[in-house]
Symmetry: C2
């Protein structure tokens, strides 16, 4: 099986590549070839599987055709301009997040003209497709009223994925990821960065800033759960999805206070004291517009699984990023 | 006020043009100029208002810019490839229904760069944005799972309209029209054509074919109600819409049996005998997938009004198309 990962250089893309290499394949099909693509060339992973790495801008006409020429049987499309950048640069957000995805779908459809071709396409959507008014737990059958251009672009791609799948051009499945915590690596500038920071830094004996109130509730899953979602989506029988090709993934609805309590159980009150309260009205306002809880029974019925406590999320981080034990 | 109508040559476009000319303007603004556009040049209407008529394909790059150069303050965008054609010709449907609308929105956004420009844009969407699973009465906050490429394209345009409005590029409002009955003119090949035909032809002493069962329920409004929706949308304060810029218009949920009963009250049993039952499995299957009833409280609260009985719909047809009395 030939697998193409678009957006392979990001955190999720790298973990997915490693998981695929460590796996025995997808279902009963071994992996025969990997094509790893991003706006910058991804690092070549350590593997005997023949692997191509490629720097490519999906929004440039012809780029998607070049990727699809090799007729990959499984495609992960993870590439996107993130929310803040898509809001700041209207043209760039639409070019990458909408046109890039549409060009990919069109390249797949055009490839079908010579010889039948209908690859599995796993697309990462976002809970940003949902906006006001928000019910206490958002079900899959709730209308999309995104509050950002990023959410708009993801919602449009979900519609395209469903239509191209209905017409038999692609076998698409979209998954709306929760906010991923604990993200490994250095702090970044994303408005959601503190959700990871207040666990990651104190576990390393470093200070972290908390810009919002402890009562703030949000929707979480670990990086490991995100990779499991992607692999499960790649293997799933898509027939039961019908015309509703995108699902909100399961996650954990938790408050900042619950995050901090989990941190204390693993690393004690000294770690908690490393969290510095520094209220930021801008971040607080952004976060207030985010959904807090979802009704994910469709995804659960289809076998998708995530953590059910913040302790599980912290434990996963310690196992996967810290070699199973706390530093120092 | 300069008003642009895109799709002015169709039934709704022609009636809207006539209604605008007969009106005293929009709010307190008199109409100073009309631009009427369609894929074929619309007929010049009888009026003293300076009027341009223009044949133009909105999906051709540059076409929308040409229309927006004149900085119309009010734009009605009614143009679309209909459902059956968008399903038969995938490329054409996306080109006109998606790219055409996006090019229009982009032309409006680009016009804003020199001097502030934010016109009111009234867009006709469709109940085809809704698909399975359908609740008994579909509310505005239900997810869009369209069963056709046409419905997909309309749903995408609704998202674009909302995002461009949120960003302040346009003051958009979308209205999802019910099936319009009684359509004047000759029978057409649309799968929904019989809903009008079984009233229109018998009132003219002519035979009509009924391809589905009398228990079939559907969602209706008259052409007069459709024009009222458009004019109300043009005048409405859009602030209460928030991010939800498109509304399902009110309508009448009625069965074929109720249609026929109304016909009999106006034209007697002889007219009803002109309806010939000729079951058509293909049409029956298409119609079975269509929604039957909507919860339109948002539109009602905002002052949109439609007929509340099929007698009203038949009476409107007799008044507007038959000079107020039955022929013969």
């Amino acid at each position: 099986m030939h697998i193409l990962i678009i957006g392979a250089a990001g955190m999720v893309g790298r973990k997915l590549t490693a998981a695929l290499i460590a796996s025995s394949g997808i279902g009963d099909k071994p992996i025969e070839r990997l094509t790893l693509v991003d706006i910058v060339a991804p690092d070549a992973p350590p593997t005997d599987i023949p692997t191509s790495t490629l720097a490519l801008d999906l929004s440039v006409p012809g780029a998607a055709d070049r990727l699809i020429e090799g007729r990959p049987e499984l495609i992960f499309h993870l590439a996107a301009i993130v929310s803040g950048e898509a809001e700041a640069d209207f043209d760039k957000g639409y070019a990458i997040n909408l046109d890039g995805t549409r060009l990919l779908l069109e390249a797949i459809r055009q490839q079908d003209t010579d010889e039948p071709y209908c690859p599995r396409l796993v697309f990462t959507s976002s809970i940003a497709v949902f906006g006001e008014p928000l019910p206490p737990a958002i079900p899959d059958h709730m209308a999309h009223t995104p509050l950002t251009s990023y959410g708009t672009q993801k919602a449009i791609c979900e519609l395209l994925l469903a239509d191209y799948s209905r017409r038999g051009f692609v076998d698409g499945i979209g998954i709306r990821l929760p906010t991923i915590v604990v993200r490994p690596g250095k702090p970044n500038k994303a408005a959601s960065g503190f959700f990871s920071g207040i666990i990651r830094e104190p576990l390393n004996g470093m200070e972290a800033v908390l810009p919002v109130d402890e009562t703030v509730r949000h929707w979480f899953a670990s990086p490991r759960a995100a990779i499991d979602f992607l692999l499960h989506a790649a293997r799933l029988d898509t027939a039961p999805l019908g015309q509703r090709r995108t699902l909100t993934m399961p996650g954990l609805s938790a408050t900042i206070a619950e995050e901090i309590a989990a941190l204390e159980r693993f690393a004690g009150p000294a770690a908690v004291r490393l969290i510095r309260r520094e209220p930021d009205q801008t971040i607080a306002r952004i976060v207030a517009g985010w959904p807090q809880n979802f009704d994910t029974r469709r995804a659960l019925e289809l076998g998708f699984r995530a953590e059910t406590s913040f302790d599980d999320i912290v434990r996963t981080h310690i196992e996967d990023e810290l070699g199973g034990r706390l530093p120092g």
